[in-house]
Subunit: 201 residues, 4 copies
């Protein structure tokens, strides 16, 4: 039977749609209920596909999780690189990156909570560690270069400390939620740390 290229494309598109629907459903459920308390059936139901199909696209529940996380990490990474490319001024780069990180969390608290929570589960981290490390090295390189341009004495440590501040602020927000004023903390961080140390020329 003759299969036109058109049909093949359509098939491919449907595949993509299903894959996306599954990932979206899983992310939503993992984030809200936690990985352990989410069942494969729930994911399939919410994605509007059968359990069997899910196993066509993913090697299982765990693999699904990893793929989601990997995608999110890469997304964040791309955003950062784009910021650096598009903005010439180092101070503005720094400000934009901080703003971006906070916006990233604000926009989707649940996703972020999921990713953060995995950082503490030894089993999970084992597979993700290479990815996290690559990401971290990348961030490190980019950010410390910015600090170097800004004339920091120890750009690497400065990067680590800024990263720690951001992580810590987000952590506080994730845990305390409405009791934690994320925006205000971000402003305080910019004013008290960044602008005090690297005044606008």
């Amino acid at each position: 039977m003759f299969m036109s290229p058109r049909t093949r494309d359509q098939n491919e598109e449907m595949r993509q749609r299903s894959r996306e629907a599954i990932k979206e459903a899983a992310l939503e459920l993992f984030a809200r209920q936690g990985y352990t308390h989410t069942t494969v059936s729930q994911i399939a139901t919410r994605a509007g596909v059968s359990k069997g199909l899910l196993y066509n696209y993913f090697d299982g529940k765990e693999d699904l999780l990893y793929q989601i996380i990997e995608e999110q990490i890469e997304l964040a990474e791309n955003m950062m690189e784009q910021t650096v490319r598009e903005i010439p001024d180092p101070l503005r780069q720094l400000e934009t990156m901080i703003e971006g990180a906070i916006q990233f969390v604000l926009r989707d608290l649940d996703q972020w909570r999921l990713i953060t929570s995995l950082a503490f589960q030894p089993e999970v981290t084992d597979r993700l560690r290479p990815l996290l490390r690559r990401n971290q090295e990348n961030t490190l390189a980019i950010t410390s270069e910015i600090f170097r341009k800004l004339g920091a004495e120890d750009p690497l440590k400065e990067t680590y400390l800024l990263g720690a501040m951001l992580d810590g602020i987000v952590l506080g927000y994730v845990v305390l939620q409405e009791d934690y004023d994320l925006e205000e903390m971000k402003d305080y961080l910019l004013r008290r740390y960044i602008h005090q140390n690297y005044p606008r020329t």
Copy 2:
């Protein structure tokens, strides 16, 4: 043959011993393998008691977890309060608290990872939240008072930011472990942030 029953004290001691053995075994296993991947049987075996006995003292696996966490949180709280009581100089108080927090994590990474990881699991947090909040308010009150004495402009925000830095640093260490030099980051934090802003008189 007449056998007198155990005295009240003997019983109390037996119970305490068993309870402690169970909590110790559970903490060790939860921390190393994660809560989900630890079975009640493993805990009982490692504690050297029967599965059944565990249910005499705890309402179940979950209750056991909560009791452990609660104990650890209170332990940390007491340590902080003791520091404040025993050291008169505010700057030294701050330094000691920072050192203490880092030592707390360094000394028992697994315990700390366990406690932190719970902050992200919605189910768990519900029961723990009041305790976490109380603890946080307490820390806030004590630390912002120190910053006030040091003449900080906005002691509360300063407390939040310091907390975020500490959390972020620990987070980095938990995730990256041997690749993250915790001690060095602590020193950098003291030098770059604390001493620069609040120089020793």
Copy 3:
């Protein structure tokens, strides 16, 4: 190789078959060994399905029990209503209903014992009570109407008393079994109570 999924009807039939096999096995075992002494594994084995499948169709052991009972009660109810519809003469209706009740018990002593035994277990009765009450009201309405047609002075009380006699006779049979001549008692009931008070015209 392309494999089409089962049709909706095929699935429906599979489900029905499994459900029935499970209910049948459970009824048999509950009746013979009692509810408490029957394990879910036994039921699954006897039904020729896995333990897990049982939980696809029933919420658990208890739910399984309820569904069986409900089915049996409705079965008995339908039989009675059919009797009334198909037989015009009230005296014959009464006789047939008595015969039917006795036959119901004789044909399947174990089932009947199961159902009756539940009437005394407070936990169980709570869920079943609405059904039992509806069934009882229905029986009451139909039977008292028959007595009314037969000219009884107090048809309602007469219904209660007849019901009590039947229950009592069956109770005796259930307890004493081979030592209790159920058929003879039924005949005596008909002769001594029914026919003496409502002679055939």
Copy 4:
């Protein structure tokens, strides 16, 4: 060491008190929660003794149940025999026995429910059957003698039918409780069946 008879008596009395306390607690709990859902711990706690002591006096939970039932059955038997001894007139005997049976149930619905419920549990009945049978034969002998004196055509069957009526009425009351007017049914039974067939001379 010298043990005076006085002390032995006191010991014996304490033993009896403990035994009774245990049986009372068990009866209460069995009746209210059912045999299966009552734990040995609950019984011991409610009786104010230790679990261990319970095993000094009874061979276990099951033995405790049997001893309770046996005692209750014998109690009922004695009441019936006393009635017969003290009242000369057969019709009055019959009336008193019916009244007594109803009062017995009314006074302690829970106890009666327990005993009745056991009639349907195969395992239990096996041990109790000899006792039930002896009791039933005894009742049969006494009651049919009364019917014989009253001039019944078939005193034995008449006894069975009366027994069935009483059992059935009680059954209805046990199941429906407040919705079942036990007193009124008893009156109706007396008027409609007893007095109509055996009018007062």
